[in-house]
Symmetry: C2
Subunit: 291 residues, 2 copies
Amino acid sequence: MIERLTIIGVGLIGGSLARALRKVGAVGEIIGCGRGWPNLERALALGVIDHATDDPVRAVQGADLVFLAVPLGAMANIFNSIKHALAEHTIITDGGSVKSSVIEDAQRSFGFVPNNMVPGHPVAGTEHSGVEASFASLYQNSRVILTPLANTNPQATNLVERMWRACGANVIYMSAAHHDGILAATSHLPHMLAFGLVDLLANMQDNNEIFRYAAGGFRDFSRIASSNPLMWRDICLANNDALRVTLQKFIEELHNLTDALGDPSGTQLLDIFTRAKTARDHYLEQLSDEP
Amino acid sequence: MIERLTIIGVGLIGGSLARALRKVGAVGEIIGCGRGWPNLERALALGVIDHATDDPVRAVQGADLVFLAVPLGAMANIFNSIKHALAEHTIITDGGSVKSSVIEDAQRSFGFVPNNMVPGHPVAGTEHSGVEASFASLYQNSRVILTPLANTNPQATNLVERMWRACGANVIYMSAAHHDGILAATSHLPHMLAFGLVDLLANMQDNNEIFRYAAGGFRDFSRIASSNPLMWRDICLANNDALRVTLQKFIEELHNLTDALGDPSGTQLLDIFTRAKTARDHYLEQLSDEP
């Protein structure tokens, strides 16, 4: 399906794409590009990539498809580096968790958004990072959101869709702005809350004891606070606008909860908790209904 | 170890204690007491209890140990029902997630806190409830916090400690107030945040889509929002004072995060996220160090 694939950023996301495509024989050779040689050498040793380079210009030469899996803050630099090195037929896609910012970065670097660029977001991951954390089944039954623009070449979109399907993912289309609003609520806000909660507890006087007596609920709740801080700084900054709106709404929700605590009958608390439980149980049902 | 054990409230917590003690042969007969006959009948059918009654007075007669595993809002009623039916040698303990409120309820019902009452809290659970959700290994390697008072009979405390150890738990002692402060931070606040977040998302315009595109991180983060709303209403009301303080601190943390989002350099965000990741990774290490 893809003769020559270039992956810029061979970590959890990039490495898992390579492994998944390799497993189903959907890729010829894979060129890995990154700034850290130890990680690239591990990627070579693990057989995740066939060739390694730290030079994006060399990496993209002759590529049929270039997948950018670098932190959002590095996208602009990569676009600037590769813009004159891309062949006309080369398709570009990415794995960034915010789509408007990637599109703006491309616009700024190229002067326009290339017809062969298909912005995308595989909604998958774990709290671990680096190529050693990658695995072939990461995208199995996951969702990949593509946000092509009006000028995007349909053949480019089609290849990117087929690539993700080959990895076992379900591909969904929506606008970049819609994507960013939804992800602010379901992913970026929860990460901020988890980071914020663990930070708050760590700053408390009895922090050692606090963590010692935490139960399983806290472990699950805070799992995403073990995510890569740099990557999440970039995501939060890139989705700043949507995230601030959502954060503000959540602060209002916490004020409502504080008010509810002041009502000794507990009616409001019970209403909120019951609505939440119903919604989450329904949401889990939805998930398990899917293939 | 315990000839005749009475469990009032045969759900996840009470049922798991029964199963665990039975498994290691640390209990003679088990009397289950509850208000819902269908649940009691399932408990009988599953062999979790030997006898069932919906009358607390009959349930505690001749008991060596009475374990109260009812929602916090029901504790006062139970104390009022059983106060004249308890034999002198009967030891009482409980599984309530807030300790000051249980102690106050006992004080109000008995006019004093009985010498044979050992307030306790097994820090364990899942988001499921009812006797069918109970299992013998729930307390294995978990922590049980006991908060005896100055007048508590040391022999009573000793038996309760041995009972929990027999279930595989580690027993820890602290004051009721200290317990309530710590649990507000590590358990009650996270539950409020999870309930609040799911409620917020459920009330958003695109709620169906929002839940559909939620990734694994959200699933874990929100797991505790599938907990029993009635039980959690009681916990939050019972630990109202400590919880309001913690909630207020968390709202301040969210204001800090909002400010941090306004700094395009991302320095503050990176600081907060890095501190949180370091604390959580350290906390996980602590957990895995333990037997």
